[in-house]
Amino acid sequence: MTLVTFTLANLVPADPAQAALGERAASDPAIVAAFREAQGLDKPVVTQYLVYIGHLFQGNLGTSTQSHNPVSQDLSVAFPATAELALFVIVFSIIIGVGLGTWAALRQNRFSDQLFRVLSLVGISIPTFWLALAAFYVFFYQLRLAPGTGRLSASLQAPPRVTGLYTVDALVAGQYTTFFNALSHLILPGLVLILYTVGLLVRFSRSAVLDVLNQEYVLAARAKGLSPSRVVFRYVLRGASLPILTIVGLAFGSLLSGTVLTEQVFGWGGIGQYAYKSATTLDLPAVMGVGLVVGVVYILTNFIIDVVYGVIDPRVRVQ
């Protein structure tokens, strides 16, 4: 993972020193040389990589050429921002998406099924950056219902850091104004992403539930004379939980890896925006840091999915 990011980052045919230094400084060879030495750019690429890996094991991700902060510090701000949004989105998406998907499957080919399917298609077809813009235009610009960009209104201070999630930290600190403010900032980007994620989940959970409905154990459960809701919740959803879990995990993973376009429009300051900024400013340590976070998120979500698989499905459990 790090190797790929590193290779990619080094493919960039421009000199990071030029990007990082000001007009005058960049014309001064001494300053450029000092910069390159400080960043370790004067060494051969392989050495650079080994040095990077070495530092990595000491928890040192290098210093961003743009923010002049340790990359780990930048990430520790950006990641919770993304995580807060991702959690908000995934919780509502699961409730709405799995609910609607199950409902659609139960009423296969009826009107509500067709409606939800088309809606879910719409959800995944709208360009998120455009929807974000439209939502922003309507709810913020025209109606003034939603707050502006960022995670918190400017006049408020971030709550004392516990988790890095503003809503949680505000509750912990008992700052209810801050809590509601942070929550209100979540809504618009949240809704934009929820629409997409719900679209995804409706499709997947519908087909997962349809699959299960064709299983004989559902017929057997109905033959027991259980109430339909009991059959759905105890038998059908349990049976469909694995594929749904997989897609929820993937969706959550990719939300956690940053939703560049949405974050960009809403100035969210999360991983996605950080990635964009780092990539366009050739901030190599930062790009590498993002790559690392993405990799860890990917591995972790897969690991968690595997663990939950084992909890849900006795057949997967290691004997």
């Binding site: 990011t5 990619l8 067709q114 360009p127 087909s207 064709n214 990539a279």
Partner: protein, 337 residues
Amino acid sequence: MAKPPGGASDSRLELEADAAATAVYDEVQDDRAGGSGGSAGPGGSGASGVSFSALRNRLRLPPTFRRPMAIIGMSIIVLWFLVAIFVPWIAPYDPLAQQFDRLQAPNAVNWFGTDSLGRDVLSRTLYGARISLPLALILVVASAIIGSVLGAVAGYFGRAVDEIIMRFSDLVFAFPTIILAMIVTAALGPSLTNAVIALLLVSWPSYARVMRSMVLGARSREYVVAGRLLGFSPFTSLRRDILPNVAAPVLVLATLDFGNAILLLSGLSFLGLGATPPTPEWGAMVADGVQQFSDWWLAAFPGLAIFTVVVAFNLVGDALRDSLDPRTAGAVQGVKI
């Protein structure tokens, strides 16, 4: 469905022919037996009947496209392709000419208004079809070919080949598409060609995965084994027995992916990493709209264009997917996150 009980048929096949004709009777049971047993149309009750209905089916619209949503989707696609082909005759003005007052709201002259340089938004939006559609097509076709070949090879040959190809695709898959594409375009420099290359690099794994899983499934199908027993070499087997049976899902995936391709291309352009001005590319036009926030028409119409194309391809792809065997349909969800 039921054949009239009196209908006589070739007597020596009778018990079986009847069983086939009534295969749908015990649906629950038959479906369990696997395969598409229940879907046999007129059964094996004689060649003449079959060819007649085959002819009738050939003349009719395939059932996949008889659904209203699929028809809507198909019409939109056809419409946009017509626009892309005939736009010089359709568009009211030159999309590049800065000939109007700047930032005019939609009016009788400029139906979609004008942009910050006094260009006609309607003409630019229509010309956008010439940019996005062909590029998306190239992207989808190329990544489908690359991904399918790699996936088929990985799935059929297994072991080290599989391991190498799939680990690599996992690696690419792990990265959010847009971030990876962003890094690549930032490295190569922003241009539509580079955006397509970048997206190509990141979008083949989904085909590889689907192809691999289907080849893997098909490889152990008995007709493939039977072919090998008849002396087919692995490549003959792949070409003759496996690929025709997994091609349909890949085509469906490609249809669904077309929408994605347009979204990703426009997303990169939106970030300034795709189309170079003054190219009337939809994503770049939306990005212009961001600057003039209150002039809603700048972003609204190109965004709508993207949306209609994507939703149309998704509608058609969805209908196509439903026509697949449910088992393979599961593999082809066609949505990247």
